[in-house]
């Protein structure tokens, strides 16, 4: 009997340690980002990160200002979110409230496919199909702009926004709907004036999760936004995001150099931004019982 109890204990502890693996990995991620980035504080100093020129490879003076990269990421993310919101939310409302069951069976897995397309394939498609279109439609010199990246990223955010908004809409008690219909409101009025407002916080959370995905997206933006590290809020210019900077420059950098450490700081800023977006939406979804406690 005792032996059996020991065995049960061992199994429990083994499973528990597997369970805590996620915590360990998160801690390790933070640890290693800071471990590689930390010597930067001594020389050349943290101040070097807070200005507006990113020019890490130079014979005169290397510049590690993060501002152009941060504004690049923000511009692309905000544009992508603006494009994704109508498609994501209206799609979610349509699928959960209007579509027939047969349509739903088709639409849901089909849109899931979009989430499964590798980002490098989407970037390639953007490069050969969307960028020339953007160039022609707006009469630009190059199609590799913030707008091109945003269009593609919007389509990466749509599946996230759609599926989580749909869950939020579904979790609205049917009594609300019945009461509204019984009072003489039409189906459309019920949807937009009762159901959607009741699900609003879940919908907002879904948009934030979608934004989290967009901020962190690397390959697509690297391939289609033109990668010019300039501060600009004009969607028709080339920009360079934080993710693309890391991916493009890490391959050519000397380990332990200032440039190398600066790239890890970019990673830290990126990590904190997505962490914040995810935590807020997690709280909201949890409050409304959409995630088990």
């Amino acid at each position: 009997m005792n032996k059996q109890r020991l065995k049960a204990k061992i199994i429990k502890y083994f499973l528990q340690s597997c369970g805590s693996l996620s915590i360990i990995i998160i801690l390790l991620i933070f640890l290693f980002l800071f471990k590689e980035a930390l010597p930067f504080i001594g020389s050349p100093g943290l101040n070097e990160l807070f200005h507006s020129i990113w020019n890490p490879v130079s014979f005169q003076k290397e510049e590690f200002g993060l501002y152009p990269l941060i504004t690049g990421s923000i511009l692309v993310t905000v544009l992508a979110t603006i494009i994704a919101i109508p498609f994501g939310i209206i799609g979610a409302v349509y699928i959960s409230e209007v579509a027939t069951p047969g349509e739903r069976e088709f639409l849901k897995p089909f849109i899931e496919i979009l989430a499964g397309i590798p980002s490098v394939v989407l970037g390639f498609f953007g490069l050969v199909v969307i960028a020339p279109l953007v160039k022609d439609i707006f009469g630009l010199n190059t199609g590799l702009t913030a707008l091109t990246g945003s269009i593609l990223l919007a389509f990466m955010a749509i599946p996230t926004i759609m599926s989580i908004s749909e869950d939020a809409i579904k979790s609205v008690p049917s009594a609300y709907k019945e009461a509204s219909l019984a009072l003489g409101a039409s189906k459309l009025e019920t949807i937009w004036k009762v159901v959607v407002p009741a699900a609003l916080s879940g919908i907002v959370a879904s948009v934030m999760l979608g934004m989290g995905r967009v901020v962190g997206e690397t390959m697509t933006v690297m391939m289609v936004t033109g990668n010019a590290p300039v501060i600009s809020m004009n969607p028709f210019t080339s920009v360079r995001t934080m993710t693309a900077t890391i991916a493009a420059e890490m391959g050519e950098v000397t380990f332990g150099s200032h440039h190398y450490m600066a790239l890890f700081w970019v990673g830290i800023v990126l990590m904190l931004m997505t962490f914040l977006l995810n935590m807020v939406s997690y709280r909201v979804l949890k409050k409304y019982g959409m995630i088990d406690k």
């Binding site: 996620s22 290693f32 590798p118 394939v121 390639f124 391959g251």
Partner: protein, 284 residues
């Protein structure tokens, strides 16, 4: 009253239009790559080595590299994710510790892929000195898809009704015997299909392996887990953006994109198909 109804109908049609425009966009991507990619696919393309820095020849080493990375990732992430899910559904009680685990899983799911790359570079490539290798790449990808596998496995475990456990426990089986013999067999198909989606993601990711495993061109196939590999997504990225004659080798790019898409979406279809079958087979 009647005009209100027509107004409603128009709005519903507009909503339908917006939803289906997303469907059209997806269909357009898939068809564009399929139609341009198919002519490039040949036996030689699939089994040959790249020549003239990818402008001619085949992509066999890249296919093999991606498959090796995926197998390595599965070998690490699948058991760990499943055990983790078993702990969370069968053992964990409502506590601060459990909540912290759940929070960590959500956070991990939101970490950008390039940050996983940095992490893998710092830990596996440099600190543990695996170098840029299959091992480092697989471990990095495994960390990345762990949350997907945990969440999918948990759902499958929760779908097994309580009485299956109670019956076994009442007959004197221990907790582990119950899980092992009366829960896992029924949850396993669900756990696997859910996990396939995560595995598909690992196959298509570029950013993490960029820093931890991939090389554009290698003269020889890898012989150990400490070797660098070529990989489909990285190959496509280089051909499309870094190649001096990127415009001229469009068919090679489309061909590579099609093979990658086929691999990833093929996995998704397998998962969806299995899910439908499993649902029909097990009904409680």
């Amino acid at each position: 009253m009647k005009s209100k109804r027509t107004g409603d109908k128009i709005v519903f049609w507009m909503m339908r239009g917006i939803t289906y425009s997303v469907v059209l966009f997806i269909a357009y991507i898939l068809l564009d790559i399929l139609l341009h990619g198919l002519p490039a696919i040949s036996w030689e393309f699939l089994t040959g080595d790249p020549e003239k820095s990818g402008a001619e020849g085949g992509i066999f080493p890249a296919i093999l590299g991606t498959l090796l990375l995926v197998v390595g990732t599965i070998a690490v992430a699948l058991p760990l994710g499943m055990f983790s899910a078993i702990y969370l559904t069968e053992y964990a009680k409502q506590s601060k510790f459990t909540q912290t685990i759940r929070m960590a899983i959500v956070t991990l799911a939101g970490v950008p892929s390039i940050v996983f790359g940095l992490f893998g570079l710092g830990l596996f490539v440099i600190t543990l000195d695996f170098g840029s290798s299959i091992l480092a790449g697989s471990l990095t990808l495994a960390c990345m898809i762990l949350p997907t596998i945990i969440v999918a496995s948990e759902e499958a475990l929760k779908a097994v009704p309580k009485y299956m456990r109670e019956g076994s426990l009442a007959l004197g089986a221990t907790k582990w015997e119950t899980i092992y013999k009366n829960v896992l067999p029924y949850a396993m198909p669900g756990m696997l299909t859910g996990s396939i989606l995560g595995i598909g993601r690992a196959a298509g990711e570029t950013a993490p392996i960029l820093l931890t495993a991939a090389a554009f061109f290698l003269p020889e196939l890898p012989t150990s887990v400490f070797d660098q590999v070529m990989a489909l997504p990285y190959h496509l990225y280089i051909l499309a953006t870094q190649h001096p004659e990127a415009q001229k080798i469009l068919p090679m790019q489309y061909g590579t994109a099609l093979v990658l898409l086929f691999l990833v979406i093929g996995l998704n279809f397998v998962a969806i198909f299995l899910r439908i079958r499993v649902r029909k087979k097990y009904k409680w």
